[in-house]
Amino acid sequence: MSDKKGRNLEIYFMAAVIVILFSSAVMNYVEMSEHPNAVATDAPTPPAGSYVIHVVATQWEWTFIYPNNTTSAGAFSVPVNREITLIVTSMPSEQGPGVIHDLYIPQMDVQVYAVPGQNNSVTFEPTHTGSYYFECVEYCGEYHYEMRGYMEVVAQ
């Protein structure tokens, strides 16, 4: 490989890398604008018509508060084909103070931190009924691994 040939090759290679990165960044911007994830709000105002569930993380349990004020712990269910808004925060429990948790539902591409003293909201819309697993993915103490369960998506 002569010097000139090598230099040209480097220029072509870097141009290709920059083109790929630029298109990825643009796609990222478009997708982000459409589906914002984990938005911090002090006084959450969920979008109208959304099915709002307040999620409270404690050491080491997820508590879900439905719109009709019933609660469930460790598992929850949501209606299919409807916009769901989760408003997530972290609270102290008898085990200890409110610490940082992270609610993660892999199949819904939903991930949101539960930060003490802060409300993070996230919106998604399940399109298939079934059972989906969720888990805590921010280390939160001794029984961190037990903060997991199933979300049931049921017909309306």
Binding site: A38, G96, P97, Y104, P116, Q118, G141, E142
Partner: protein, 559 residues
């Protein structure tokens, strides 16, 4: 109550043993100091330090206990290299124990609490003691030769830095804290088994001391580069390894002050929690301060090894590196851009649209310098007429492959939608183990093998065992990290003592990989023991310390 008594007894015993060891060391060192001062007087020196420096300066040094008393650059370099290797084996054993406990979906060998302690220590020790320690070690060992320094007078400062660094590491090790290497409050403020562990405050103190040591040594190395180098070495004649160390040190000095302040405030919170509490709405503030350091640290752990690769390749291809200029530009851009991406660790914490967009765009940009660097390596190998496939060269080639895999997975995470799907899963673990095992660990071993004739005073290492060490490390790391990547894409969470049973196949595959790596390290230890017992048989020079040597006929180190 009885559990408390047991803990007290065990801790007491540990303190006693450590005190005995320290006292024994003190006796050894003290008698050695007397000996040195007698020798200095006999030679007509006023200052022992000056005698030691003249006695050892510029001569090849053997590895021995004397490196812990002598304050010349080579001794300090070896001190860092040996200590970091020691911590590599401790933290590696912790890693294997964690793997062993994960054979079943519910915690088996270890209780969740023990698992969390090992998780914390594995990460903290591997990063601060192994990756950073061995980078500083190779810097201290190689730079005086690369820069042909005309004086070697700064050893005392670095020696203080070294001991503080070691003390910090030891405190972290004995603190049994389970705060993870993030130290996120309020968890790290929760001083019981549920949270950070009884002695979490000790690890905060330890890491603060470690930082002070790190900064002293960094500044000293920078002073050596700036003021002690031979006037004939101009800036455009610096080796690429010198540049990589300069950039690393700038990064350490720029990024560590915020987190040192953060750790100080966190330590104050143990007495009166006012800074990082839910009531003060500033829990996320610590995470920002942490990642302002926590992202650059991962580059601090690879840039020096990128520099070492630039030094190793010409020794086995017999040709200069493809482009010196793009090498410097690549490493320098990496320094600048990697300071701007810390927020991508916190995409899902509620930073908001503007911040997330900024950090995800800069995270795409940081690929450009990495691509320049990798292109440079491949072009250098491509244009070589002949590549001697030696053990260090195998580590280099494997490192480049691992970095490409780990890097491509890394840049995917810059995209916000992908990040929401992989953050906190084993994808991240796989991504950085590819890079840390391929680049940091692999290149450290490559450089260690090349220095071996000098460190051992003219002995040869066993090539067959070294090859086995390489093949096991490379194959095990490939299996382990690939299994993590696959499981992680399905949502397998990291840092957990147990997992959903359907993730077991991925866990078992990665456990197998982990143990293959472990067996590889046994070959390394065996090789060291066996080779050291042999009589010296070769020249005690090595080609890594010699600048611009591209001959393929070097005797030392290159097997």
């Amino acid at each position: 109550m009885s559990a408390y008594v047991t803990t007290l007894t065990i801790d007491g015993a540990i303190v006693a043993i450590v005190s005995i060891i320290i006292f024994a060391l003190y006796l050894v060192l003290n008698s050695r100091k007397d000996l040195i001062s007698k020798m200095a007087n006999a030679e007509g020196y006023d200052s022992e330090g000056q005698f030691v420096r003249d006695y050892v300066a510029g001569k090849p040094r053997e590895l021995g206990l004397s490196i812990f008393v002598n304050d010349d650059a080579k001794s300090l370099g070896m001190r860092y290299i040996v200590t970091s290797l020691f911590f590599f084996f401790i933290a590696g054993a912790f890693g294997l124990t964690m793997r062993l406990s994960l054979t079943s979906p519910n915690p088996s060998l270890l209780t969740p609490d023990e698992y969390n302690v090992l998780l914390t220590e594995h990460a903290t020790l591997m990063i601060y003691m192994w990756a950073v320690g061995s980078a500083l070690g190779f810097g201290y060992y190689l730079l005086p030769s690369h820069l042909k320094v005309f004086r070697d007078i700064r050893g005392v400062f670095s020696s203080i830095g070294y001991w503080l660094w070691l003390l910090g590491g030891a405190l972290i090790l004995v603190s049994h804290s389970s705060v993870r290497w993030y130290f996120y409050p309020p968890l790290s403020l929760q001083l019981n088994q549920n949270g950070g562990g009884l002695y979490a405050w000790l690890s905060v103190l330890g890491i603060e001391i470690l930082f002070v040591g790190l900064i002293i040594t960094s500044i000293t190395i920078l002073f050596i580069i700036l003021f002690d180098r031979s006037p004939e070495v101009k800036r455009n004649q610096f080796t690429l390894f010198t540049w990589s160390i300069i950039f690393t040190i700038i990064m350490i000095l720029v990024s560590s002050p915020p987190i040192m302040v953060g750790f100080a405030l966190l330590f104050y919170d143990y007495f009166n929690p006012i800074f990082f509490t839910a009531a003060s709405h500033s829990v996320l503030l610590f995470t920002i301060l942490f990642w302002f350091w926590g992202h650059p640290i991962v580059y601090i752990a690879i840039i020096p090894y990128f520099g070492l690769i630039y030094e190793i390749i010409p020794k086995f291809t017999g040709k200069q590196i493809f482009s010196y200029k793009s090498g410097v530009i690549g490493l320098g851009l990496l320094l600048i851009l990697s300071e701007l991406v810390w927020g991508h660790h916190l995409f899902n914490s509620g930073l908001g649209f503007a911040w997330v967009l900024f950090f995800s765009t800069t995270s795409f940009l940081v690929v450009i310098p990495s691509a320049i660097t990798i292109f440079n390596y491949i072009a250098s190998l491509w244009s070589a007429e002949r590549i001697r496939i030696t053990t260090p060269m195998l580590f280099v080639i494997n490192g480049i492959i691992d970095f490409i895999i780990g890097g491509v997975v890394g840049v995917m995470q810059s995209a916000f939608p992908v990040n929401a799907d992989v953050h906190g899963t084993y994808v991240i673990t796989g991504h950085f183990h590819f890079i840390f095992l391929g680049i940091t660990t692999g290149i450290s071993f490559a450089a260690f093998y090349m220095l071996f004739p000098t460190l051992s005073g003219g002995r040869k290492y066993d090539v067959k065992l070294a090859r086995l060490h390489f093949y096991f490390t490379a194959a095990g790391s490939m299996l382990m990290s690939s299994a993590w990547l696959l499981g992680g894409f399905l949502g397998m969470p990291r840092a957990t003592a147990g997992y959903f049973p359907f993730f077991q196949p991925y866990q078992l595959a990665s456990i197998a990989g982990g143990f293959i790596i472990g067996i590889g390290q046994i070959f390394f230890l065996w090789n060291m023991g066996k080779s050291w017992l042999k009589a010296p048989s070769v020249d005690n020079q090595n080609c890594l310390e010699q600048v611009n040597v591209i001959s393929t006929e070097m005797t030392g180190g290159a097997q």
